[in-house]
Subunit: 371 residues, 2 copies
Amino acid sequence: MNAIQQVDNINQFVEVEAGVILENLHQKVKESGFIFPLDLGAKGSCMIGGNIATNAGGLQALRYGVMRNLVLGLEVVLADGTILNNLNPVLKNNTGYDLKHLFIGSEGTLGIITRAILKLNPAPAFFSTAFIALENFENSRELLNRAKIFFGDKLTSFEILWPAFYRLLTNENSGNKKVMPDNYPLYVLTEIAGSDRAIPFQMEVFLESALNDNIVVDAVFVQQQEDRKQFWQIRENIDHILVQHNPIFNFDVSLPVSEMEQYVAKVDAELKQNFSVVYNYVFGHMGDGNLHLMINCGEGNTDAKELVEKIVYAALPSTHSSVSAEHGIGLTKKKWLPFSRSPQEIAVMKSIKNVLDPNNIMNPGKIFYCY
Amino acid sequence: MNAIQQVDNINQFVEVEAGVILENLHQKVKESGFIFPLDLGAKGSCMIGGNIATNAGGLQALRYGVMRNLVLGLEVVLADGTILNNLNPVLKNNTGYDLKHLFIGSEGTLGIITRAILKLNPAPAFFSTAFIALENFENSRELLNRAKIFFGDKLTSFEILWPAFYRLLTNENSGNKKVMPDNYPLYVLTEIAGSDRAIPFQMEVFLESALNDNIVVDAVFVQQQEDRKQFWQIRENIDHILVQHNPIFNFDVSLPVSEMEQYVAKVDAELKQNFSVVYNYVFGHMGDGNLHLMINCGEGNTDAKELVEKIVYAALPSTHSSVSAEHGIGLTKKKWLPFSRSPQEIAVMKSIKNVLDPNNIMNPGKIFYCY
């Protein structure tokens, strides 16, 4: 059996082995005129099985959803060796419990994902990517609303970048081009895509109207693959942060868009209250309610970790948030699981873990401290 | 606490009690400029809790997804009295197992859903609804593809009606108007909606091009609420079938669009081989890969049930189908669960049922024969 089966052109799906590298799948389905829309920095090395086990998010979740929304069917091997075959591509299937959702995002603790049927989308022919500067956060919220209404499902990405992030990612050593001045209060990187030749024109109209209404203070947009890549490098080349600072503490939080501005300000203020040196690089998938923070509180200051974590998580709105939007719990966030999940929820999770893997042989030690 | 909480306008969600009637929710969120897009014939009596417990589908799943895709957070009471509170509106939350998906579609057998946070969509301002006649099934497939590409996320419904269905639902006693002649080989009812004033014009352009290319043989389209309602009555007033025939055997199957034509022909042929009188009314959500069949094999012939079920299900493609797309298993389809789910899957479902409800007090007797 091939690692990647023949694309089903009519019903728009493909069956793949879990060990297929995401970028290889991208290339393969492209030959049939489709895209598999999951897209993330690690695409050259991450595998489909891992993408499913961690319910990966990435750069186009706003338009196409996270991995959970792209999986139609699954094959999973359970702890007792049972092969659970649910390789069914139908969109609607209300026959008992939808078990695949239990395995998606379970980080390998309930079973080993071996094959999957994935939903494909027609490849868009035209793109336009814009780098935008704004006066304040409220305008970015207004811009996001306008973009959703104006572009509909042509809107594939809406990423926000706080100025410290933009400055660092376009500094002399970054290898990136400064596509606009680095002294604006806020930046947005947005992309639209579709089959419509008028895509670049639509971006122009959209930006012009936002400029006229003072929602936006500066904007550049590009269509060509090479130029778009340059824009995306500024957002994606986060390794550059790791070169500049050591240690870096990484965060991946969910919260309502309406809470973001206040949240970032609060984290900033509390970090500065507690540390004399603070670098807080904030960016993320604003359209999905998902921010990333990369924080350094002094060169070599690894001891800061615990307090930084406390500050970042305690500032979240208590019931309307998540300590892990797309990166999962793994080992390093086990301590913070109770922040986003109630004792009752964790007890139910553990009881399910127990019944499917009574000897705890499936990725032991992940997600929970004890089972 | 109110049965329906204040709509969160910015983050576009609403928190509701499970006992809220779907249509009341529709009216309430409309006041805030939103729609809750789940829409089905029973909206005047069905309740949100039941919609979630059965993972309801309906007329706009093509655009907005089924109930599973509209639920952000849930509150569930378990068999032991535990309240499982996951009333969290964030879009991305990878903190352990996504338990809500276990309860959605579990037909009340794992717990009682008491509250939910539901995703809202901005209310579209403009609509266009078209009734279309086609020469053959292949053209309807081509039309669906074109509609997806041309309209993008403005395409909210794409329903197919075989001619016997259209004829009966527009006959003298139906109360419906014949919006086009009833001797065409196939009919499609499609709707687009959006914020764009040009919606009716776009429908016109789309249909004109399809007529020119001989994909479509006849088409009428309307914009006004009253006219649209008339079109939808033809699709929705299936009680009229129950008045004309007794008994009627109801089916709700999923299968790839590429298999539909052959499938319906096969079921028809086998019914005619086995019964002297056959009425087979076929219609459904083509865009979702979901067909409904309403079958009568002679007035008063209730004995036909078993053979009719066998014919309808045996004709499905074995691994790429479902015996219940959106109606669930309940009592009447328990016998057919193994047709769509493997023994291994059913065993895992039962083990989960057992761990959450060891005394089998949650909606006992549904989905499985024994636990």
